[in-house]
């Protein structure tokens, strides 16, 4: 059974046209993440939600926004996509344990490949 689902798997948009990528999870995890992965590069964390608390990475451009309307869904909004935003976008989740140290595995979705024309 799919645990982390991303739709669509492939998305084509035009330069400057807003686009939304979606992620859903059946794991009931508290934390959801969005990563950007460009060709032949490591995934780069954009931001994550801990429940409803939004945590932005310092170097994530303002062009990228996120919404989490409920535990199961999280959206990545790119307000004005540029050619440099073409990449694979990975969603991941983790369960948070209230412990002294975090020992969490992240579960990844299959990704959405974004093409900007």
């Amino acid at each position: 059974d799919a645990m982390v689902i991303q739709n669509p798997r492939y998305q084509v948009t035009q330069f400057g046209k807003p686009v939304t990528l979606s992620c859903s999870q059946t794991l009931n995890h508290n934390v959801m993440y969005w990563y950007q992965q460009k060709s032949s590069q490591a995934p780069k964390l954009l931001f994550h939600y801990y429940d409803k608390d939004f945590n932005n990475e310092a170097d994530t451009p303002d062009n990228f926004q996120s919404r989490r309307p409920n535990t199961s869904f999280c959206f990545l909004d790119i307000r004005s996509p540029g050619l440099g935003d073409a990449a694979m976008y990975l969603c991941a989740t983790s369960r948070d344990v209230l412990a002294e140290k975090y020992q969490e595995t992240q579960y990844f979705g299959p990704g959405t490949r974004l093409l900007v024309l």
């Binding site: 490591a42 964390l45 969490e104 990844f108 490949r113």
Partner: protein, 110 residues
């Protein structure tokens, strides 16, 4: 940033040989994880080793962690053509964030 570094960047071996990939990171961690990624696909979690562990095994996978050297290695024994993929290490510290290395592209030749 705390992004890890992996070497080699690319590794090509014959089927049946062992493959060793190394990862170094910069600051203290809670755990280190290894992921696999087939071309154009999502990441698959392979194994997690905690900061107080030195070695873990999972089938044909063996992971070591040396916190004094801030390094980890992933060994795949008796490689198969289906092991061809990119392998990433990811260091976890603080609250849930993972910092990925640049990856090793493994090619196993049948």
């Amino acid at each position: 940033s705390q992004q890890g570094e992996e070497d080699p960047q690319a590794l090509s071996i014959q089927e049946g040989e062992n493959a060793t990939m190394n990862c170094s990171y910069k600051t203290s961690i809670n755990n280190l994880q290894w992921y696999r990624q087939n071309s154009g696909r999502g990441l698959v979690h392979l194994i997690l080793i905690r900061s107080n562990e030195r070695e873990k095994h999972s089938g044909r996978l063996r992971v070591t962690l040396d916190t004094s050297k801030k390094s980890s290695s992933l060994l795949i024994t008796a490689s198969r053509a289906a092991d061809t993929a990119s392998y990433f290490c990811a260091a976890q510290s603080g609250a849930n964030n993972l910092f990925f290395g640049t990856g090793t592209r493994l090619t196993v030749i049948p």
